[in-house]
Amino acid sequence: MIPQLTTLSNFKDCIAYMNLPVYKYLDNDDFGILKVHEMGISLPFQSPTFRPLFYTFTIVTRGIGTYIIGNDTFELRSNHVIITRPDAFFASSWTQMDKVYNITFNKNFLTEYLPEGIDDIFELGAKNGYSCSLPQETMDYFEKTCLEIYNTAVSTLSCKDEFMANLIINLLFFLQLQKYNTENLKNQSEKHSPIVTAFRQNMENNFNKLVSGENVTLMRTKEHANLLNINENYLSKVVSSCTNKTVNEWINEKLIDEIKYLLKHSDKSMKEIAKMFGFKNLNYFYSYFKTKTQNAPGSIRKEYNHYSQEQSSFF
């Protein structure tokens, strides 16, 4: 089943679009918490495709579902948590849902209470999300904190945003610790620099605009450097030394990720997709895609359709 493609990006618009109740306590677009299992969703459920401006943090105590973000697919089972990045196509489906909490927060919300942004706490890198299963004890803690956030959200405390941000940050720390434990990593890798954060933000904005049709050119190193008022070489140097990836690698990866999603989960024609991302002619689009992925765009779409048909006939 191909989800309906929308470019809705605000949290409340998304809920309203799915004909779900928009509770009164969700009084701004910056932050929201939902007890998803209490919303009266009929199962199995397939959401339309959104392009959220917010991070989604989902805690599945009991339930089975799938998140598709960009080119990544995350299978969710009981005792799983997942955090997903904004500015990518996003669709979800659920086959079972007994206890699921969903917390969403805008980038603005986070930077107001956490000036350095989420990358400082939680290293998502270039990935669209991170999901893991938690031991029972940690899960209990997460669930308890979720309820605390919910209670704060429905209360009328004057500094409730600050409290909620504080509790969210706390959960993110614990998730990060969990990640260290499972991956056996030391506190290393990405160093953070405001330039990198600003660059990635601009890149994501550029993609959002391309997708919504507000903008028709894909920004490359030169445009990014101009936008930040710094020298092109300096930008390249900072980005590659902090992230071990070059500016063009970032842009290409994101571009391929977006294209792959559209190929798999939408029925847009090649021509439309190519035009959307600023390719002037179709041949260049084909050859670009092929050099980056060693695969033609048409065959990706065909393979996926074939695969998903097999899957659905299998069930």
Partner: protein, 311 residues
Amino acid sequence: MENDKKQKFTDFYETVKIMGNELSDGHIGNEEFSFVNSKILHREHELPWSTPLFYTTFFSIGFVIDAYGKIIVDKLPFNIKPGMLFVNKPGELQQLTWDVMNESYGLCFTENFISKYAGISIYKTFPFLLFERQIPLHTTMEMQEELKKILLQIVYELKRDSPLKNKICANLLTRFLLRIKQEYWEGYAIHSPEIRDPDIVKNFIQNMEYHYDQLLKGKVSHILHIKDYAKMQQLHENYLSSVLKEKTGKTGGQLIAEKTLNAAKFLIADSRFSIKEISYMLGFSYLSYFSIFFKKHTGHSPVDYRKKNLQ
């Protein structure tokens, strides 16, 4: 009061000494953030027990559940009773005496700790900590329960020693302070710097905090000297200096230098500005002056500091 009786504690280990002379379960943490369990520090046979008069360089929170004693802050004495919460800011002259000790905890933290690990500016989020004379607060049973829960989590994190220890502790500390803010300082706003306040020190700190806040936002690009602050309060600079020296134990120049150093650290960690730009922003006319100033106070040159921060 004679001058030689006043002591000042800048070093963590000296603080440990003053708080009860042992580095054990009763006092865990480091020079930026530490937790005190007074019950373990002060055994029954040592009571009553009191500290000499001392100045601190950190914020401290005392959370009394069941204990009796006395605290003198800026020459004002208060009796400590169960259910009391007191918050002290750096530079306050204080003396603490315990008579009966059943359950009481303390937290010590520096401004740097909370801004470094929680990204929170005390000036913006908890202005009451900087500007208000702290009188002891009374806590309800419910509030005590909640605060104690947070404290237990802090102790757990301090002992667990995970790679994110400092950040999680800063996060929990923020929650602790937010509870206090919600309960006692709801709707508190900073007075605009134009309004004159009879308290000279408070006024000076307010002017200074405001100025540096603007400086970091890039709205002003020069630094103020003691002379300028004196003019703002319509005082003579010598008079302002002597008041500051008497009340805080530091000269105005020292206070300004400390603040400048913190601003410099913050700006250097942010790689958008070159060292040269930063030195002009902070009012140094030559880059070398800035380097010397920075090296004198931190032991690193600005460039080294930035490199270290990026590693």
